[in-house]
């Protein structure tokens, strides 16, 4: 089932928001798509990679977001329509070329997808990247549903070429990760080779050129503003009321639902905004002029609100404008919240329809956070290292990073003292190792190491920062759903390529002591960690341990595909004392203690066999699968 490449114009299908964006790009004749994985953006590149050969387009997982954007910019310079996709914090990594891209502009349509994550469902912050558009002077388009996302992508490519500007397509989790009705259009096929026209004054941002480009950019910004007042997806739903609700992006959907729930459909005007940056001033100005009271509903920062207030001031209007004084600035919105907001705005006690059931006081429901999977190699790495640390009686500071292994923060391991952003484990360790007494241990995943760990490791060698860096090489980018990376020897489209060895890289960075372990061999791993930690304490240099073992989800799905059974383990009830080392200290979710004996749940167990090495009473044994 390969819907995003189906060439049946007019057909209505169900697509994930991100698939709809990918489809929109195909319909717009995209030739190049790049990205680095990150929830909730990942499926855009995955969907395009899957059809890249069939569609004759170029798709890559880049090593990080900065590079992804630069590749897309290169293609745009050659006149090709290109798209770079990333999660909101990915744009921070890409910020340097991003800011400059406003100055140089685009030739082939250039779309930067920023998938934001209000409520931090899977992120370290909830920054609002519409502000990045204001910062850089790059227009932002914000669809409210999968169906609209597909259409707006097409508009965005045209707009980008018309004004020779990059365009940010800003989505949020509830757009990217909702499935909805999408009506297919025609797929456009364009030439896949372009031509680079040398133009030093434009492409070479030395100060003398940059100053000129900045002036041109400011002029362009005014043109863009004017043009956006005619943008198809900005719409005034006029009910000849004195009161107007302005809603941007997905907030429009919640406003429509809330207005319906409160029976206000014919009683209030709605101005739907799909281009929050820059504000389409002519359109908004006209609405303000016909309104006495205005409410701006948007998620996170008051991006539209600020601009609306500024505009009202400039036009000398004295309508009252509500916004973040009654709309939450934290977390995503939903129809419930917007119903409350409307009640506050209309100072009414209009009734909502149903009363929710109260949560019973008893029983108390235990929390269920995400955990390391049964058979996850990261668990074994944490276990072995914790043993080594215990034997040596050390009190390390653990700098963590972003990936599945961040879950090491949870009990029973609690071996993560910091998580800041990708790559910060080694970066912070540079600081922490110099200014306090305890040894510093940095954890970093393989994909993260390639993404942003390498310069920090070089820094540790260059500036002589003692630390143990544990590179947890599970041969994939697991957290975001198993994308390949430069160490895997596979590209986004599945083709094979050189695989870069992490040990070689570490040595090339100047690290003298580089060890490799298989975390499923507990004895050897513990000993290697002991040796590494001793070396760290004696020599006070950066040390690297590469812990290599494939992500168990990959192992399991390969075994299923090949019809192989996984190893099976049983507990010898005579030997088991119910000591709980396997559950409470090792923390395998597939094992539980029932009537003071360990029991292995076969539906959860993946057969890693580490519990067998963990059990102090040798009570676990392998059986015929």
């Amino acid at each position: 089932m390969n819907k995003i490449s189906v060439n049946k114009s007019g057909l209505e299908v169900l697509l994930l928001g991100n698939e709809a964006i990918a489809r929109g790009a195909l319909e717009a004749g995209v030739r190049v798509a790049t990205g680095y994985p990150g929830t909730p953006s990942t499926e855009i590149i995955e969907a395009l990679a899957e059809v890249s050969e069939e569609m004759g387009i170029y798709v890559e997982w880049s090593t990080n977001e900065k590079i992804a954007l630069e590749v897309a910019m290169g293609a745009s310079m050659c006149g090709l329509r290109s798209l770079a996709a990333m999660k909101h914090v990915g744009l921070n990594v890409a910020m340097d070329p991003f800011m400059s891209s406003a100055y140089t502009g685009a030739i082939g349509g250039l779309i930067i997808v920023s998938a934001d994550d209000p409520s931090c469902h899977s992120s370290q912050n909830e920054q609002d990247n519409r502000l990045a558009g204001l910062h850089a002077l790059i227009p932002v388009m914000e669809p409210y549903s999968p169906g609209e996302a597909k259409e707006i992508v097409k508009e965005a490519f045209d707009f980008s070429e018309k004004h020779e500007t990059p365009v940010i397509l800003r989505t949020t989790t509830r757009v990217s990760h909702s499935r909805g009705n999408v009506r297919l259009g025609n797929i456009e096929v364009r030439a896949s080779k372009g031509h680079f026209e040398k133009n030093v004054k434009r492409w070479v941002l030395i100060p003398s050129n940059a100053r000129v480009r900045r002036g041109l950019l400011l002029e362009k910004w005014d043109d863009i503003k004017r043009d956006l007042s005619h943008f198809k997806y900005n719409r005034f739903e006029d009910h000849e009321s004195d009161e107007t609700i302005i809603a941007s992006g997905i907030a429009y959907g919640y406003v429509k639902e809330a207005v319906r729930a409160l029976g206000l459909e014919e009683k209030v005007n709605i101005l739907k905004i799909s281009t929050p940056v820059p504000l389409p001033e002519k359109l908004v100005g006209e609405c303000l002029e016909s309104s006495k009271r205005v409410l701006v509903v948007e998620e996170l920062e008051p991006v539209v609100e600020f601009q609306v207030k500024k505009l009202a001031f400039e036009l000398g209007l004295n309508c009252s404008i509500y916004g973040k004084n009654i709309v939450p600035r934290q977390g995503e919105l939903n129809s419930d919240i917007v119903v409350d907001v409307l009640r506050a705005f209309f100072k009414s006690n209009l009734k909502a329809t149903a009363t929710p059931v109260d949560l019973p006081k008893k029983p108390i429901i235990p929390p269920r956070p995400p955990v390391l999977c049964p058979g996850c190699p990261h668990r074994a790495t944490f276990y072995a290292l914790k043993r080594a640390v215990g034997i040596l009686k050390l009190k390390p500071v653990y700098t963590g990073d972003i990936g599945c292994y961040t879950l090491g923060v949870l009990p029973p391991y609690e071996m993560t003292d910091t998580t800041i952003c990708m790559g910060a484990s080694i970066g912070l360790a540079n600081g922490l190792s110099k200014f306090q007494e305890n040894p510093v241990i940095a954890f970093i995943g393989d994909s993260t190491f390639f993404h942003s760990g390498i310069p920090s490791l070089i820094n540790a060698v260059y500036n002589d920062s003692p630390m143990l860096v544990v590179i947890m090489d599970n041969r994939t980018t697991a957290m975001t759903g198993h994308q390949p990376h430069p160490g895997t020897g596979v590209r986004a489209d599945g083709s094979t390529t050189a695989s870069i060895r992490i040990e070689d890289l570490a040595k090339a960075c100047g690290v003298d002591y580089v060890y490799t372990i298989d975390p499923f061999n507990l004895e050897d791993s513990t000993n290697t960690f002991r040796k590494a930690l001793k070396t760290l304490i004696d020599y006070k240099k950066p040390i690297v341990v590469v812990s290599r073992r494939e992500c168990v989800l990959i192992t399991v799905s390969r075994a299923r595909r090949e019809g192989r059974r996984l190893p099976k383990f049983r507990v010898d009830v005579d030997k088991c004392t119910g000591c709980s080392v396997c559950t409470r200290i090792f923390g395998c979710p597939a094992i539980s203690i029932v009537e003071e004996k360990a029991v292995i749940d076969d539906t959860l167990c993946t057969g890693c066999g580490v519990c067998l090495q963990v059990c102090p009473y040798k009570a676990i044994y392998e059986v015929e699968a």
Partner: protein, 199 residues
């Protein structure tokens, strides 16, 4: 008419697949639909909640079901039913899989199924229970508890979707080699609820 369905369970139970099948069937039936999922962290054995809103001759504008706004809750795990009970109002119908999955982190006490069902009773809620895993194992497809639950949901006959549309969606979305068994699972779930509601 808009029908709000909240599906809850634990990462790995097939909650998202269930929602996708419903969404697919809705589009095939010319309904407006929005189904919202959360990926990433939520998949690693954590709680999973998916909202599916199906509009029949009415457009769905937003993907999330509000508090007290669920018409139906499909609960693949009993603790998750209770955790998310604020989506229900007194008229909501719940279909609950009689299963408790232990959270992956060490916890002191896990409520029993009986305790959970007692609590739901005290909320004056209408619910049906079934042992989806047992039935799935009987059929020989142990991972299809979600399809059994889907059958049960359709057996209520309250959605604006035909049984055939959902069967077609199962055939479209699931890998070919599992389709036949899943259709069987679907039928079993459907029949069980039919029997329950006729009693």
């Amino acid at each position: 008419m808009i029908c709000n369905i909240v599906i809850v369970g634990v990462g790995g139970q097939g909650v998202i697949t269930l929602a996708r099948i419903l969404g697919e069937a809705a589009v095939k039936s010319a309904c407006s639909v929005l189904a919202s999922e959360v990926h990433g962290m939520a998949q690693r054995g954590g709680s999973v909640v998916v909202h599916v809103r199906i509009g029949f001759k009415e457009q769905v504008h937003a993907p999330l079901v509000g508090k007290g706004q669920a018409n139906i809750m499909v609960c693949l795990e009993a603790l998750e039913a209770l955790r998310n009970i604020f989506y229900a109002n007194e008229k909501t119908i719940l279909i609950i899989n009689e299963r408790i999955i232990r959270p992956g982190i060490p916890v002191n006490k896990i409520p029993s199924l009986v305790e959970v069902l007692e609590a739901l009773k005290s909320c004056k809620l209408t619910y049906h229970t079934l042992k989806a895993e047992d039935i799935a194992k009987e059929i020989g497809i142990p991972f299809a508890a979600n399809t059994i639950m889907l059958g049960a949901l359709m057996g209520l006959e309250t959605l604006p979707l035909s049984k055939e549309a959902v069967e077609e969606a199962i055939a479209t979305i699931l890998p070919k080699k599992y389709v036949e068994k899943n259709l069987e699972a679907f039928e079993r779930g459907w029949k069980i609820i039919k029997q329950m509601s006729s009693q």
